[in-house]
Each structure stands twice: as C-alpha cells, then as structure tokens.
Symmetry: none
Subunit: 236 residues, 4 copies
DNA sequence: AATGAATGAGGTTTCATTCAT
DNA sequence: GATGAATGAAACCTCATTCAT
C-alpha cells in the first residue's frame, strides 16, 4: 500500500538480492534478538507514520528486508507485531513513570510535575514512538485489535496511578477522594491531549506547554483540596 | 465477462428467483428522504458499534435492506455516508452548544456548566451517536478520511469556543489569556474523555460526573484567574 | 464516471428541477423528434470526448437533462444510442461522398480529389463527429458493440467504393483490376489515418495535407495503371 | 467483515476442498519466470480474442489457473499485464524491423520490401500476437491505458522509421522531403491495415498481398521521387 | 409520456496469512 | 531458519438496465 506500484513484471531482472551473498551459499542465520529488532524498528517507523491500518505486512517486509513468513514466525500476527512495537515504544517512558510514582520523598506537587515534565520530554525526544502510541492524541483508537492495546493502556494506567498517588497523598477531602479514579482518568486524557497538541503545533517552548498543563491540573486539585466546590445555582 | 456485456434483461436465463419474496412483498419505491434516513440509521448503528473501518458497505447494505448501488447513489462513497451519519449524529448537540455559547446574559460559570450539562445529557440520551463521533473517547481517529471529519471537528470547535468565551469574559490575567487556545483545547479533551468514560462505566449518576468535571475545569480556571501560579522549585 | 462525485446526499435540496415547470403541473411532453435530438447531441459530445467505454448512461442522462428510462425508450441500449450518434455524425459526409462517387462527368483524378478534399473539410469542420467515428484514427475500435459499427462502416464502404470507381474507370490493367478491392481498402485506411493525423497535429494547412495524400494515392495508382510493377529480385 | 478479520487459517471450517486435486496433484511452487510465462500466455490469448476491455482479471485468472493476487503480484495491474503481453507479442517483429532498418548495404527498395515481407510473415505466423497489438487493424485503440501503449507504439515507430530511411536515402526532392514524416505515418497506417485485412480475409497468398502493398507504396514514392506531382485544376 | 428509485452482476485491487521447498 | 510462491476472502465502487408510479 505504501511503496508498491511500479515494479511490474516486465523486467524480471536480477531482482531483489538485498544485502545477502556472504560468500557461503547459506543464508544469514542472524540471531533471533537482532532479527526481532530489525523488524520492530522498520515496523515502528511505518506504524508511526501511517497508522496501524495504513501499513500492510508487505510494506513491513519490504522495509525491513525480512520476508513475511519470518514476521509471522516471530510475531504471530500483525497485531502481535504492533503489540511488540507498542511495547518497545513506551518502555522507557513507562519505566520512568513508574519510578517517579514511587519517589516517596517528593512533595506531591513536585512528583506531579516530574511526571508531566517526563512525558513532555519523551514526546519531544521520541516523537515517533509517541505517535505510535497515541496517533492524533487519541486515548484509544478503535481500529487496533484487542490484543494490541496492552502497551498503550499500560501508559495510561501508569499516568492514572501517578495522578492518584498525588491526589491521595495530598489529603483530599473525603468527597474528593471518592472521585479519585475518575479525576485521574480525566487528567490523563488532558495530559495526553496536551502533549500531542504541543507536539503537533510546537509553537512554544516545551516548558511553557508543560507548565501550563501542570497549573491547570494542580489548581484544579488545589481547589478541591481546600474543600472549595462549585455548585450550580438552585434554579437549575 | 467475456461477451456477457449487453444481454442484461433479454435472456432471463437460469436463476431468476432470489431477492424476490423477502417477508414484505416489495419495499420498493420509497421516497428519497425516507430511504436516506433508513440508510443513515442502519449505517450509524453499525458505525457506532464497529467503527468506520470495521464496517463494510456490504454490511450496511445488508443491514439496511438496501442494495449497495443505492448507498452510492445517495452518498457517493463510504466516507460520504459516514459524513452524513456524523452530521446527523451531533446535529442537535451542536445546535445546543452554539446556543449556549451565545447566551450573553449568563454568568461565565453558569454558561460553562450549561455546556457541560448539555453534553453529558447528550451522551446519556444518544449513546450511539456519541460513539459514532468519539469511538472510545478518541479526539480524532486517523482512520477516517479527510472529508468525513467535519462534523466531529465542529463539535470540538464548538466546545473549544465555549471554553474560550468563558475564559475571556472571566477576565483572565494577560498571562493566562495568552494561553487560552491551548487551555481550551485541553479542556475539550478532558471533557470528551470524561463524558466517554462516564458513559462506559456508568457507575454513578450523570450529575455527579458532570459536576466533578465542572469543578476540575472551573477550579483550574479560578486559580489562574486569581493570578495564582504554580512554579517548579529552583533546583529543577 | 465523468462528472459524478461531490453531490452527495447531504443536501437533498430542491433538487434537479431543470427547465420544467411550465404553469401546468404535467411534464413537458416534448415531441419525439426534439427529445431524440437533445439526447443525441449530448451523447455525441460525450462519446467524442471520452469514447464509447468512457461514458456511462448516467453521464448522458445528466448531460442531456433527460432521464435514463427515456434514453432506453428511445434507443433500446447504449449501443443503440451510439449507433444513432454515429449515424447522425457522418450523415452529411456520407451523402456527399455518395454524390461524388456518382459524378460521372468528372475525370477520375478529379473525382478522387474531390472525395479527399471533402473528407478533410469534414474533419476540419466537424472534428467531434469525426472523433466519434474514428477515435485515434482507428479503422474500427474493438470496444464497440457489434450493432453499432454500421454507420462507421458505411463511411468506410463509401470511401472504398469511391476508390474502386476511380480505379475502374481509369482502365487499370487486368492484373491491377484483380486487386481493386484490397487496394481500395488500403487507400481507405491511409486516408482515414492521414485525416486523423492531420486533425491531431494540425501544423500545416488543410490543403497541403490533403494534397499530399492525393499524390501518394494517385501516383501509386498511376504507376500500376501504366503497367509498371516492382518485383523483388530473384535471389530473394 | 464485521469481526471476521483475523481468523484466517486458524479455523479451516467447512469447505476445504476445491482447487486441490485438479488433474495434476499440485501445480504449486512454480518458479517465477515460468509462472510469468503461463500468465502472459493465457492473458495474451484472451486479450487477442476479446480485446482489452473484453477480458476481466477474473477471466485471466480462471484461464491460467492462477489466482488473481498472483497476477497482481507479478504485473501490478491489468494494464501492466497487458503491457507485458504487448511487449512480448511483438518482440521478435520489432527486433527484425530494427535490423532491417539498419541494413546499410541494401538498396532502398530492397529494404522496404524486406520490411513489408517481414511484417506479413509475422502476421501469418503470429496471428494472435498481431491481433493483440492491432485489434481490427486499428492504429491505436483509445481504450488502452496510457502506460500500455508502449509496445504497440514502438512497432509503429519502427515502421515509420523504416519508411523514413527508405525515403531519405532515395534522394527525394526537397519538396517531398519536407513531408517525410507525414508520408511515413500514412504508409504505416496503410501497411498495418493491409496486413490486418489480409489476415482477416486470407483469400490470396501472402506474397501477393505483400507485393501489392509494396507496389502501392513504392510507386507512390517513385512518382514523388521523379518530381512528378498531381495538382488540382485551376478552377478548383 | 416520463420519472425516481432500484438492482444484479461484475470490475479492479489489496490484505493477512500460509504452504512447499 | 528462511524463502518465494500462493491464496481465500473481501473491500470499494460502477454500470447497463428496468420496475412501479
């Protein structure tokens, strides 16, 4: 779907002898880990740019220089391959988020800020990986097969967890505590959306965007923390 | 093919019974508007449940009891059909949002609340339509062709507009005003996500979810309004 | 296929009320001949530009402002309609050719010249009609259904006839006479091709192209006439 | 679709017998070149008989006993496949024509004759290939996609070239030289038409038809060569 | 006489997946 | 372990043609 068209059958030529021929007639016999990495890299690049549905296994095979049967041998299915890509894409981010969540000595606001800062930095430095996980800032994209959402969801969960910890340690009112789960979810959505938006229309320094988000979230929390509450007027 | 061309009705040949007696003896000759509605309804139901990519024109034809050529005659393409569905799905919501945005006599907080309340009500009463527009809470799902995003985007724009108006009339600090656009975008994402989340895990009354969101947003605004600002500590 | 796409079903509008509404509620009731002409004109224009296969009955209906069932009522089939167009396209040309063929008082060369001149003039003045009959200078275009070739073939026959008459009256040698049919056919092909070629790359005055063709044909004849004959050398 | 996606080979389900035992127990795993040839042969036969538009990829798949995806894997598109057929169809003829064009030691008339002879022989021996290239003696058939005309046009060009060479070396008058291009084109049309006509109504030996054409062309040239010129009478 | 609505059949193309070697 | 060859299934879309009004 991507690059096809144009190499018809008119000129069979020598055809397709990639970077093989190493003296011995037998094929490369590359160790598993290495092959796997080749595939994931090629696939990730394509998935990032064109989305899950916009890439065919043929495209990936061509781009990675590895044949389709190999792709299936290693990853079972297109979804499996995407899963592996997603897994790898956010690995570092997830590790870092996990770690931040557990830094007990940090003040709640500092921890929240570190998490947000972390995420924006990740988006900046790993734009491709980010796009792979959240194309168009979507929290979830229906088009992806059930098995493949794991990695994405884990990031969501970690963020949510971070927000929850922050809120809890902050000593929210009982009223507010009851809502933690939902609040965390909403904050997560806001965060992902803000990060994606910044990445797409990067017209301001990263810090500014990150700090603005921090303020929105923190102030929202802060108010609730202090027990202030907005309520609709009676008439309504 | 191979010589077939042109002998359509002349030689009835074999097999002439098939889609003839189907329960009702003949559903033909329905006026355009009505058929259109039938198609949109069938298509919307399917799109809501399976997403754009998960439904084929054949599926829709089968479900609506109308043949594919009719679908194309009325909507030109799958995207066109989806557009029409999306158009119709949020029509009422968009009208209402537009109207709320313009209610000049309302206090800012009241207006914001009305908008949020409106949206949650819509999600409750038109779950299918909502899913059609925001499958899984996605802000945008890359898989949809360019022409079809109009209706969805219009809702986003209207929400954003509502937030912007609210913020502006509130007299935000200059600092904050500069960020309005981005803040509105983030709020929109939070709102859509919160609404979708509530719809999916409806374990609490609608008002509670809506009010919680209102508070998060309003408090965030409020703090900024008063010029309070969170800043990271020096060291970092 | 031609103009479609873009008038989807979103805005049903008042729709398609062409130039009807004449006070009385009943439709136009245009006399048969007139309607027929409307159809043929619209169809011819399209066929000329896009070829038989490049035009759909829908296109024609849209362009002529007459509904498809009418097209079928008048012409039975797409082929029938094309036939009618072809018939009309070359009517004048055929009449003229017929007349030239019968001008007994003319010298053979003059008659030939008049025929050729006639044809080039026709091509110049009725480019569309010519293209309808001989797209790309083809003697016959396989894509056209069997029933539709009549009009085109008639032109070929008339031209062939003209050449035959010319040859016969010229008093060709017996040897040559035996070949008349084939010669005429070849001349016809040369003529049609030359005319089309000139029409497409009109980089010289019409007379020049016509005269060149005349010379090629006449000189070829002339030599045979005088009994001169080229024969391969023995060895071959 | 609708959930179908993804269960390809896991559940063999019903119907698993079909294209299995077909005479030969398994035609699979044929090397590329051979398969390619199979396809081209089957396709050529069909294209020859029914024309480009009269054959569907399904027809070809069925006739060649190879599935459609293979056709596309090897030739990219229907046009690509036709191109390959056309390419192969006239390969030998084109080579021969090229060679004849360059035989410097030959007298002009001998060269012309060899070319014509060659072509008629080709038409006789490869009737199918000829029909593929020139269905109904057409110089060009609009119905063929742009990319596919190459092979056909090359033959035309080679013939034209042959005529041009012949004319130039013959020392035509300046007047005539100016017309070479157009003359060559007309001669080409005459030649193709004559060959096709002979092939269709083969009621005379090949040599006779070829020789007649040779004479027509050569005599036409000859006259011009000697400066003789036909001009319409004054009165016009 | 005229039309809007309707359709069966087929077209090209693409994809995820798996044999047979 | 690795591959070229192969495929069933389905996708979107279009067309010539006709029925019911």
């Amino acid at each position: 779907m991507l690059l096809t068209r144009g190499n018809a059958g008119t000129v069979p030529s020598v055809a397709e002898t990639k970077a093989v021929g190493r003296g011995a007639p037998g094929r490369a016999r590359t160790p598993r880990a290495e092959r796997e990495q080749q595939m994931i890299e090629a696939a990730s690049a394509l998935f990032s740019e064109h989305g899950f549905g916009g890439v065919s296994m043929d495209d990936i095979a061509k781009a990675s220089g590895i044949t389709k049967p190999m792709l299936y041998a290693y990853f079972d299915s297109k979804e499996g391959l995407f899963s592996a890509c997603a897994e790898q894409a956010g690995e570092e981010l997830r590790d870092d988020l996990r770690e931040v969540s557990e830094r007990r000595h940090l003040a709640a606001d500092q921890r929240l800020w570190e998490g947000i800062d972390l995420l924006f930095k990740f988006v900046e430095e790993n734009h491709d990986s980010w796009l792979l996980l959240y194309p168009d800032g979507a929290l979830a994209a229906g088009s992806i097969g059930s098995g493949a959402v794991a990695a994405r969801d884990e990031t969501v969960e970690l963020l949510t967890h971070l927000f929850k910890r922050t809120a809890q340690e902050q000593g929210l009112s009982d009223q507010a505590l009851a809502h933690i789960e939902a609040i965390a979810h909403t904050f997560t959505a806001a965060t992902i959306s803000a990060a994606s938006h910044w990445a797409k229309h990067a017209d301001e320094p990263r810090d500014v965007a990150a700090l603005r988000l921090m303020n929105l979230l923190w102030m929202g929390c802060g108010a609730l923390l202090e027990g202030r509450l907005w309520l609709p007027e009676a008439g309504r």
